[in-house]
């Protein structure tokens, strides 16, 4: 008896989650992460792009300077 009870509980729990999933699928809202939380991740993406851009540019500058230093040493 107890076994049946737990099993039925288990299955109801299982199906209720399945139902929840089905409800989620009905909502059509694309690009979900970017549009969540008031689209704050768009701002994050923008900041990341700027940081990557500036850092790559500075790394290139750094390489140029170290190349010049090496040339100066070899002279």
């Amino acid at each position: 008896m107890r076994m049946i009870k737990t099993l039925s509980l288990f299955f109801t729990a299982l199906f209720s989650t399945a139902l929840l999933y089905a409800q989620d699928e009905e909502k059509v809202d694309m690009a979900d992460t970017m549009r969540s939380n008031g689209r704050i991740y768009v701002v994050v993406a923008v900041v990341v792009v700027i940081l990557i851009g500036l850092i790559l540019y500075l790394v290139r500058l750094d390489r140029k300077i170290s190349r010049m230093e090496r040339e100066k040493e070899s002279k």
Partner: protein, 208 residues
């Protein structure tokens, strides 16, 4: 920081502190660049030419960053959420602001191409200083005048200023926005001075 709650933008309005500042920084750096170009034409000192060139280069970097961040912002505000932004591209690409900014950046790319195509130092400095003035003059119609005459999805079309309009920008945002403009510009100036110092040393070793 609290921001105004706007229907189409929601939290993406915070991009004002980044995307718009990139363009402000670009404009300021290009302005400094043209000032040094004029100074070169008056004094004929090669150092002024180096200043002018490096300010223009870093200005282009900020312009490209402004364009890239604008592309990201656009794909989550202008583009249709149920289609991919690629499918909305047809409508978005007709924006006068995008086309104007692209033309302005291409003119400055041409400045770099022109520079590297002339091997004689003095000739290069003189020709590119004149071209720099021409490029700066073309900034006015391409990014300030024409976009303001045409209807656009971008703020500041037809009826005035995109970010400086007192009716358009919330005073709470201005509290962050103006220091952000100054901060990004100072960052740009710092990178430029590093490049200038590097090139001045390079110049010295070349002349020796």
């Amino acid at each position: 920081m609290d921001v105004p709650r706007l229907p189409a933008l929601s939290e993406t309005i915070r991009n004002l502190y980044f995307h718009v500042c990139m363009w402000f920084c670009m404009m300021i750096l290009f302005t400094v660049s043209v000032v040094y170009a004029v100074r070169y034409l008056r004094t004929n000192k090669l150092a002024d030419d180096i200043y002018s060139r490096q300010y223009a280069t870093v200005g282009i970097v900020f312009g490209v960053l402004g364009y890239a961040t604008g592309a990201i912002w656009m794909s989550y505000t202008w583009a249709d959420p149920n289609n991919s932004s690629f499918q909305s591209f047809n409508a978005v690409a007709r924006e006068p602001k995008l086309i104007g900014a692209a033309i302005a950046l291409l003119i400055y790319f041409a400045y770099m191409v022109l520079r590297d195509s002339i091997s004689d130092m003095d000739k290069r400095a003189r020709i590119t200083a004149v071209y720099n003035i021409f490029a700066y003059a073309l900034l006015f119609p391409t990014i300030w005048i024409i976009p303001r005459l045409l209807p656009s999805l971008h703020p500041g079309g037809e009826n005035g200023n995109p970010a400086l309009d007192t009716n358009d920008i919330d005073s709470r945002m201005r509290l962050v926005f103006y220091p952000a403009v100054i901060g990004w510009t100072l960052l740009g100036v710092w990178i430029t001075t590093l490049k200038i110092r590097l090139n001045l040393i390079k110049e010295k070793t070349l002349l020796q």
